[in-house]
């Protein structure tokens, strides 16, 4: 049977990505983008809810999606650090969506044929959503990279800042290995060649330089997060925790 921590971790990725993205609502550079980013955030939030609910079912301890989202501490979240990073400007939001969305699209596509029927069904559904996110991020990467000199500088800065955090998405991990071994999940290492091919091509078309450097921060999968994560979680959970047991 699927280890409940597997969908939980995927759900954490989606949840924290949605939480960061929702900050843009009322702050996007144009109204079309308020709509589009809210749409992406909604997809991610929907993915998080389905995955956390599935994790709760598999765990069998009666924890709901809200218990898992609002009542775990900083060290119990398994999302990759990439998704929790603050988005200093719109270029950061675009670069993050390009990197994370491409990873998600490949992951969801692979998940669609896994042995856990719930995850397989979700993977099929989510893959379509992710494809839209990737397309959206790709369009913006091209516009910003090949737009003005300022936009190119900002986009390159964002790519440089976030690139090191992409390694963690594909890093070896016992949970991935186990899930891949029994067919209930995917080893993301297998996705890396396709990811690199796609992202590299987009960066090239956008006249951007693919970063070098061997810094590979990580630890999110083991609950080791950046200092930006605690305040994010504090804000997200404060109201829920202020009213223990209340329904909303």
């Amino acid at each position: 049977m699927t280890d409940h921590r597997y969908p939980l971790r995927l759900g954490d990725d989606a949840l924290i990505a949605a939480q960061r993205l929702s900050w843009w609502c009322t702050r996007a550079p144009q109204l079309e983008e308020d709509v589009a980013l809210a749409n992406v955030a909604l997809d991610l939030l929907g993915q998080a809810r389905a995955l956390l609910a599935h994790a709760g079912d598999l765990e069998g301890a009666g924890r709901t999606e809200d218990d898992l989202a609002f009542l775990r501490g900083d060290r119990e979240f398994g999302n990759a650090q990439l998704v929790e990073l603050p988005e200093a400007d719109f270029a950061h939001a675009v670069a993050k969506l390009l990197f994370f969305g491409t990873y998600q699209e490949l992951l969801h596509t692979a998940l669609a044929s896994c042995a856990d029927p719930v995850l397989a069904a979700l993977g099929g559904k989510f893959a379509k959503e992710s494809a839209y996110h990737v397309d959206h991020a790709t369009q913006w990467t091209l516009r910003l990279g090949d737009g003005t000199s300022e936009s190119r500088r900002r986009m390159q800065d964002a790519v440089d800042a976030l690139w090191p955090y992409t390694h963690e998405l594909f890093a070896e991990d016992p949970l991935w290995t186990a899930a891949a071994a029994d067919g209930t999940g995917v080893d993301p290492a297998a996705l890396l060649p396709d990811w690199t091919r796609y992202v590299t091509a987009v960066l090239a078309r956008a006249t951007l330089v693919r970063p070098e450097g061997d810094w590979r921060p990580g630890g999110g999968r083991r609950g080791l997060h950046t200092e930006a994560f605690g305040p994010l979680l504090a804000e997200m959970q404060a109201l829920h925790r202020a009213h223990p047991g209340a329904r909303w």
Binding site: L15, Q19, S22, W23, C25, T26, R27, A28, P29, Q30, L31, E32, E33, D34, V35, A38, N39, A41, L42, L45, G46, A48, R49, L52, E65, D66, A69, F70, D89, F90, L142, R143, L144, D146, G147, T148, E150, S151, R154, E235, M236, A238, L239, H240, H243, G245, A246, R247, W248
Partner: protein, 309 residues
């Protein structure tokens, strides 16, 4: 041409963008549609304040979807205004520098999560009372935008009411939050219908042009009659000691809002006026480099495609 315009109005038919129309009709519509569009956009902020703190994932999703709808409504409405020969950037400038207004209701702060529910119930409820008649407005593009918007607004209103029902069935603290939110939003909601008829100088002309179909006071009464039984069903008290059933009229009598407060908020001295405009201004200015990049890219792309033909 004027006769034809008058005939269309008299027949209760639609004026379309290419039709001749009096300058004052056009100006009135631009002002009203722009104000309406601005209200959708500024109106994302009070509830947006709770997006990152929503106490359940379901409520977070509902809030996000609502904010997205509002941005969409803003887009339809700016598009409707553009059919009258203005453009969105110009209208945004006017909003940001204070030459155009938005609904004063959005200058009040959302202090607790119950405010999210009450905004859905009362503020969207009042908006619907105002907007349903606009679906039959004499200007075609505006009327058609309103049909779509009203449908979504009703949905938001039901969601807000449902949140309040859930909270009223919850803890004492949740019930107190709901009552407190109702106490704060009731009078501002009544003021959403504008000043009393005697003090609303433009109303008569707008009614003659069939932009507007009911007077402010008429719509306000309709809203109160609709809302009082909902409040009873919810189990909250509306903060008006003068609220009483009028057997004769078959409707509810109610007290007089504090019109000086409305004037003050319209003038710019509401609790959140400065903050709302500042957020909008910052988003617009911080996004300038992005919009410039998009234009530059589009131009390059067009040039490349042109030269490769």
């Amino acid at each position: 041409m004027e006769a034809q315009f008058e005939a269309v109005i008299a027949a209760d038919a639609r004026v379309e963008p290419r039709d001749w129309m009096p300058d004052a009709y056009r100006a009135t519509l631009v002002r009203q549609i722009a104000q309406h569009a601005h209200s959708e956009i500024i109106g994302m902020q009070p509830e947006g304040n709770w997006l990152t703190r929503a106490p359940s994932l379901r409520r977070k999703a509902i809030l996000l979807a609502k904010a997205q709808d509002e941005a969409g409504h803003g887009l339809y409405l700016y598009a409707a205004a553009e059919t009258l020969g203005v453009d969105r950037a110009e209208l945004t400038e006017k909003l940001v520098d204070g030459r155009q207004k938005y609904s004063s209701i959005f200058n009040y702060p959302t202090l607790t999560f119950a405010d999210v529910g009450v905004i859905g119930w009362l503020v969207d409820g009042a908006a619907i009372c105002n907007q349903v008649p606009l679906c039959r407005c004499s200007y075609g593009p505006y009327a058609r935008a309103m049909v779509r918007i009203c449908k979504e607004e009703s949905f938001h209103q039901r969601q807000g009411y449902e949140l309040l029902m859930t909270m009223m069935a919850g803890t004492d603290a949740q019930r107190a939050m709901v009552q407190d939110a109702v106490d704060r939003w009731w009078w501002p909601s009544l003021m959403m219908f504008g000043p009393p008829d005697g003090a609303s100088p433009n109303s008569e002309r707008s009614m003659a042009w069939r932009i507007k179909r009911h007077s402010n006071d008429e719509l306000r009464r309709r809203f109160v009659d609709m809302t009082v039984p909902q409040a009873e069903h919810l189990g909250v008290t509306l903060p008006d000691p003068d609220l009483a059933w009028n057997e004769e009229r078959g409707g509810w009598d109610f007290g007089e809002p504090d019109w000086s407060e409305l004037q003050q908020v319209i003038k710019g001295d509401g609790p959140c006026n400065a903050q709302r405009i500042e957020r909008r201004r910052a988003a617009h200015e911080d996004g300038a480099w992005v919009r410039e990049a998009a234009s530059a890219y589009a131009a390059k792309k067009a040039a490349r495609e042109g030269s490769s033909r």
